[in-house]
Amino acid sequence: MKFSEEFETRFAEMLTHYPTKRSALVPTLLYAQDETGALTDEVIAELAGRLDLTELEVRNVISYYSMLTTKPRGKYNVQVCTNIACMLRGGEELLDHCKKKLGIGHKGTTQDGLFSLEEVECIGACSWAPAIQVNYDFHENLTVPKMDQVLDECKKNL
């Protein structure tokens, strides 16, 4: 199992931050997932070994956190917030638009693997609603045409 040098440096440093190895688990899982696309059996076995945990203990943690996934998502994970503040300003319309435009539903992935779509809970952009995240990037004060632009930009960046 090979991770980037950056991952290894961060991981080694993080272990020095806590009295127990296990404490590094949650952020490490997310950084690992960023590199591998999903927390596969191989990744789980690797990290369990490194942190002196059983694979079951690691899976137990993965299933709790909404950002962690054992199945690969699209290159661009479009996360549309429909929670109260976004709902009041058109978040649901944005989600419907994405569903139609991408031809996929909640937690679906396009056949070419480019996009996946997720209806998410509050992402902390309430004063700039409606808002989405594409992977980690925030896009705020959106309208349907602006949403189209965001998706088109993703395609261009291929």
């Binding site: 997310l30 109260i84 009041l88």
Partner: protein, 437 residues
Amino acid sequence: MASLVSHPDEVRVISKRFGQSATDIERYLQLDGYKAVQKAIAMQPDAIINEVKNSGLRGRGGAGFSAGMKWSFVPKQSAKPKYVLCNGDESEPGTCKDRLIFEHDPHAIIEGVMIASLAVGAHTGYIYIRGEYRYLSVIMQKAIKDAYAKGFLGKNIFGSGYDLDIHWHGGAGAYEVGEESALMESLEGKRGIPRIRPPFPAVVGLWGGPTVINNAETLAAVPPIILGGGDWYAKLGTPKNGGTRLFCLAGHLNKPGVYELPMGYNLKKMIYEVGGGIPGGRELKAVVPGGSSTPVLLPEEIDVAMDFDSVAKVGSMLGSGGVTVLDDTTCIVKFALRTMKFYRHESCGWCIPCREGTDWLEKTLTRFHAGAGVKKDIDNIYYLAENMLGKTFCPLGDAAAMPTMAFVKKFRREFEDHLDGKPCPFEKAGAAEPVLA
């Protein structure tokens, strides 16, 4: 990233460095940075705690507990190491304020953690940031690195002989982890399920050691309190509600945004003057004053001072400072349903009243909103919510129950308008048109 706003009534204490490039440590130093911690080093720990007690600073995460009081609960002597933990797992719907502090003034949070550590005798602090805020984690990791490079953190800080380490920690998506005991579980590498209290974290916290847990905004208020004095800070607000607060104005407003206003600022003025009023000449229908878990207020209830005690008097809570405004095109049943859908999704499942209650309430409200409700469902919704109150290890059960009970109580007629196969009156009228900025 997130755009900044301003209003003449703002009193900038926490937001004074916003937009000033203070993520750069040199710039932060020019703007009074790391002065408060040096002052605190020269003070006795009890004097720091007293200053914070005098300031009337109350927890900005939502509970509104006195920060100085919380610190004073930490035992002086402890066989196990003590810790300070900054809660930056901001996820209460309607709330987006900590994000701005992390983005514009990360060193203020570091400095707040440092002062809290000096006050309680901790030598390790953690700054926990929710996983979705990756760009803020990048900013915070750099800020911590820069503080170490300057010798402000690590061994013998500012030549005081005091050793202090501060580390970043990241989440991976979970509202529940914003609850203090679940936050500790998450930091220990586990599922974020709550711990039973007592013992409280100040006595038995991270890895069994005494732990102070404060919201990011609370900690960012500490350096100005130390520099300006507790009395000065207290006077900015109302009695027992010291200082200022970052209010997140959201929903149907002309000028939504995060504004720093004195504690006790009038809610009506906040909506109509600071927030620019309601778009399109529509009427105000309701306000959720402090994040999605706080009971809704009616238009006739909003002439209220926005401090913890005044909002409690009108039957709601100041909560996390997230003010969500609903105009007359909003269907309350739908709003209640969306709120419950959130709590059902976020319930960790540890306590049965919360796990089952949120699930049943979501199902009932879904059916109800679709027009398949019957009259007894209305009382049933209220009854289900009422029976979750106070019956869970953490406040998530209450957070789901309180707003639901208020929606039923204050908007019963609107629930009745959805009965017996009637379509949602708001969708029928085409009034659910999005209000796009």
